[in-house]
Amino acid sequence: MAVATVSTQSGAKPKRSRSQFAQAWRRYRRNYLAVGGLIWVIIFLIAGIIGPWIAPYSYSHTDFLNVNSPPTWQHIMGTDNLGHDMYSEILWSIRFALEIAFGATLVSFVIGIVLGLWAGMKGGIVDQIIMRLVDFMGAFPTFFFDLLLVVKFGRGMGPILMAIGITGWAGYARLIRGLVLSMRKGDMVEAATALGASQMHIARRYLLPNVMNQMAVSLAFGIPNDLTVMAGLSIVGMGLRPPMPSFGNLVAQAGSMMLGFPWMMYFPAGIFALTLLSYLFMADGLSEALNPRGGD
């Protein structure tokens, strides 16, 4: 009768193999904080994209009749000491934050991938030089370099984006080089080499698919980091030049007034904190979902 279910021979049980993406998503979905984070990040992205159209005022519009106004129907998040509508300011901040953070992360990421792959696959003196450079960039907070660069090149969108971008690649380069090295030494690459595969083929078919996961995770952590750096520049007065709003500017500016007009701090600081939290929960969930640590 009920014969012992013995899974022998035939091996392939296609049930599980669907796709790794589906499995990762299944794990991700179970993590409520990560899902919450993802939802907020999506809202944030949408706000960034359509923000300029739904913002009731321009970011430089000043309403002199309603200076330092608490939230009202007219200004749902109040106004600041110059009569800027906080709601509009925040929408524009999201826009600028996204542009700079995504742009800077992209720049860092591209530099990191190129240098990391180069160092890892080439080895030898190239590797030595690149790694010395990585060590140097990693030894001190890149924030110092960002400050110097911003002073040199100015406080506009472009310069800030580039400053954050060209100082932030060390981590990516180190990660990718490490992954490539660990795999290059492994049997997998050796087996492909033995088949006569070219370096290009190995990189494309064997290395990249296996480093994708970790790269996605490090990217997910990279964006909130760049958001923080960007705001941090404003805190020391080196961020986007007003009147362009940014979370950093809004927080810095509210710093001196928040005891009297706390809403100037509530909204930007709250939304910014929530955003960073969401990004981190999302990144953390992503890393757990893509690289499950086995376990019980």
């Binding site: 400050l147 705001a231 020391v236 509530y266 981190l280």
Partner: protein, 329 residues
């Protein structure tokens, strides 16, 4: 002997690295339109003085020219500047030529150190137990809560935490803790205990997160390692295994995160001092930058970079002392 050789090697490497930072800073400033490292720029900055006190003006101008070697080629100026910095001969601030930079550092540096070390200590005291508890109760609500707290700390930068704390203690529950300032009349460097709480807490939260998460993950990994099973097979009590074989090993590994955490904290101090109006190095740095006071700005960066380098060296040495497998080389 080996240690000595290692130390010399490390210190030399450190000096080279810091020199590179200074050089980069100098070059940037040199080529910045408003930069001060040209004779004409200095002359124009000292403009009003020329009329008021021509003699002093001439003297300061000569001073500057000599100090920065403004008549020499750029590489010479850079070397000269590096040499001055490394010998702690920082000269005068640009904004306020009568004040020696060293004098400014005298008060600012200890304040920033207090903030940074205070928050690191706080992070270790809170983060380590939090990580241990999360690891032992892994995959329970305790673990999830601790992990969530840790991530939150990591996510929210110190200036936002600081701002929110100021709102909390300045608006919601007033009068419990002071929300700005440092020291008082007669006490420039030492704060009142109350003054120190909020800055240190807002700085420390991020590091608490980093430490707790690291301890938690490494402890979970270690408790799955074979040698833990060996200890169990010896009949060692559970708690002793956790502490002696688990936590001890995981703390050894944790030393390596103190270096980066310290660097992270240093940047945090710059922000937090801004929010709480604390007259530390961070505030010096940011005023220097906003006022284009480049000698002061570069010097502040130099001091902070040196501090971080020394800390990294200490971390590496203590790691090699804790882990017999690590050799200093």
């Amino acid at each position: 002997m080996a240690i000595l050789k290692y130390l010399i090697k490390r210190v030399v490497a450190m000096i080279i690295m810091i020199s590179a930072v200074i050089a980069i800073g100098y070059v940037m400033m040199y080529y910045t339109p408003g930069g001060f490292f040209t004779a004409s720029n200095i002359a124009s900055a000292l403009g009003p003085l020329a009329a008021q006190n021509p003699q002093l003006y001439q003297q300061i101008l000569r001073d500057f020219q000599e100090r920065y070697g403004l008549n020499y080629p750029l590489w010479h100026q850079i070397l000269l500047y590096i040499w001055h910095s490394l010998t702690f001969n920082f000269g005068y601030s640009m904004q306020n030529p009568s004040i020696k930079i060293m004098t400014t550092l005298h008060t600012a540096f200890p304040i920033s150190c207090m903030l940074a070390f205070g928050s690191i200590v706080l992070a270790l005291i809170v983060g380590i137990p939090l990580g241990i508890i999360a690891a032992i109760k892994r995959n329970t609500w305790v673990d999830y809560t601790a992990s969530t707290v840790a991530i939150s700390g990591q996510a929210i930068p110190a200036f936002v935490t600081a701002a929110l704390l100021v709102l909390l203690f300045g608006v919601v529950i007033q009068g419990v803790l002071p929300v700005n300032g440092w020291g008082g009349p007669g006490h420039q460097i030492l704060p009142t205990p109350g003054q120190a709480v909020l800055p240190i807490v807002s700085l420390g939260l991020g590091t608490i997160g980093v430490v707790a998460k690291y301890v938690r993950n490494s402890l979970v990994d270690i408790m799955r390692q074979d040698h833990i099973r060996t200890a169990q097979a010896k009949g060692v009590r559970y708690w002793r295994i956790v502490m002696k074989h688990g936590v001890r090993n995981s703390l050894t590994a944790m030393i390596t995160v103190i270096g980066p955490a310290f660097a992270f904290t240093i940047v945090g101090t710059i922000w937090v001092e801004q929010i709480f109006s604390i007259p530390g190095l961070g505030q010096v740095l940011s005023t220097a930058f906003t006022n284009d006071d480049f000698p002061l700005a570069i010097t502040s960066i130099f001091i902070l970079a040196a501090l971080i380098s020394i800390m990294n060296l200490l971390v590496d040495i203590s790691y090699s002392l804790m882990d017999p497998r690590v050799k200093l080389e």
